[in-house]
Subunit: 315 residues, 2 copies
């Protein structure tokens, strides 16, 4: 295991390590433990927005600009693990083939859902591995639009919210909570009609919410397919990173990230404990029988179990 | 609270009760406990399939047929709680307006996601309430296509998998695990070209997996928008229900349902306990600081916490 650091530099080995993490295969925790101590150096950028906003193309162009200046880039594409296949994801990935021969670019998709109810631990762990692997930038791109994906980008250093003019609905259709997580607005496909309107709408909403904030959320117009505005976007990303480093914001963000990660890990552990625990075999059978016979209800029984989990004093 | 049974009969009060359950408002557990003891009489039908399969229209026609024979029907539409608004859901709901004056029909949407990581308890609880309200049929329709929705339909008595010819992909594009949960296949929009091919494809796949099974999964061709094939579908639904009642399958299904529900309730309880528990205030701050300083890693710390949860003997 002395070679883990070396293995992380080898794209093929890195891929295998991430698969181990994703599938919770034997030894995954040791890998994560080691990676954790080597993490904390990457700039982690979240890229989110509604379907059709051109997030993949934007990611692809952004890789280009970052590579030009010599930075290494990993992309983690969060796929909603749909039970029905969709065509878009594959298409998006194919576009990334441009970088398939570049050793300093690594692209990976990850499903967001866990087994029982979907505790999304894996994405956050993969970021830790990519960070330990020494990538200068980790771009976390959401393919889907679910809460899972939003939760993931919340754990990044800088969040890009990608919008496009003429998506039919106006900006007010965006669910509350989305506008607030954006550190940079990207108005993509800005050669389309309505882009100035969209910028004004965003400015208006920002004017309502921004007073007192130290960071003036920029709005960048891009045409990702023509690489327009991408350089400016990369400059703003760096500005934002400098901003959060210049105050305690980066520490605060990392604490929040660790806090979420830790709680998820605890829940994941408890989930495993419950699955392998007292709700198995004869005892579970007895319990389920009692529900069937209406001798007791699952709400009260679950409450009793939860109460029986005694939490010992920390340390 | 003597009037709960009465309240459940009043559509407007029922709506308010379900909102209480969904939002985990004060008193929700008492309501659920009471509902549990009055549940177990409804036939619960899951309706799932890829987007564009016409599930809503099918649900709407099915209500019509079931109402004609005097049955009362509740519909629970599981919406993926997207962070970006979509237009389709509203449109689907509007179609249901046909039944807005019928006291024996109740239609409700529910989001699938919980707070932290998305433990989907609410849908299963709403089914319990609708069951206690005395509806003969509860149709659980998935609007989205995520794992959440699949998990929900798994907890129904009879699962309809709705497919359509010419969705672009062939049936093999359906993710593994979906075919197996279907008790009845519905080939909707069967007046379209390719429907016979689709039926043959399903037959072929069934022939590979069905030997040894006692239930011969029927394939019903429908044109929901013209009410074609819906009567036949309702007959097959009843046949399947009779089938699972004639052997121990219904008990087995209910046990599984209770088992899943119970585990989710335990996890939900633990989640709350963790949120309000030792990971707050000063102690959490200390823990997070130690991660920041790399004095310890969250994986080991989470493991320790999980181990410190001591599960007392049941009973």
């Amino acid at each position: 295991m002395i070679s883990l650091q070396e293995d992380l530099k080898d794209i093929r080995k890195l891929s295998r390590i991430i698969t181990t993490i994703e599938n919770r295969q034997k030894g995954y925790k040791d890998i994560l433990r080691k990676c954790f101590y080597h993490s904390g150096k990457s700039k982690i950028i979240g890229i989110t927005g509604p379907p059709g906003a051109g997030k993949s193309t934007l990611t692809s162009s952004l890789i280009g600009v970052l590579r030009e200046e010599g930075s290494s880039v990993a992309v983690l594409a969060i796929d909603p693990s749909s039970s029905f296949s969709g065509g878009a994801i594959l298409g998006d990935r194919i576009r990334m083939l441009d970088y398939s021969l570049d050793e300093k670019v690594y692209i990976r998709s990850a499903a967001t859902r866990g087994a029982m109810g979907g505790l999304c631990v894996a994405a956050s762990d993969i970021i830790t591995v990519l960070d330990a692997a020494g990538f200068d930038y980790i771009l976390v791109e959401t393919v889907g639009v679910g809460q899972d994906e939003i939760d993931v980008v919340k754990e990044t250093d800088t969040v890009l919210l990608v919008l496009v003019p003429g998506l039919g609905d106006d900006i007010q259709a965006l669910k509350a909570g989305i506008m607030e997580i954006a550190d940079i607005f990207v108005v993509n496909k800005s050669d389309r009609e309505g882009s100035d309107n969209l910028v004004r709408e965003i400015e208006y909403i920002l004017s309502l919410t921004e007073h007192g904030k130290k960071w003036n959320t920029p709005i960048i117009k891009t045409v990702a397919s023509k690489n327009e505005g991408i350089k400016e976007l990369s400059i703003q990303i760096k500005k934002h990173f400098d901003f959060i480093c210049s105050n305690s914001l980066i520490l605060q963000k990392r604490k929040e990230r660790f806090s979420l990660k830790f709680k998820r890990l605890v829940l994941e552990g408890l989930e495993t404990k419950i699955k392998n625990g007292p709700l198995k075999g004869e005892e579970e059978e007895k319990l389920l029988e009692s529900f069937i016979k209406k001798e007791q209800d699952p709400y009260t029984a679950a409450e009793e179990i939860v109460e029986s989990f005694i939490l010992e004093e920390l340390q």
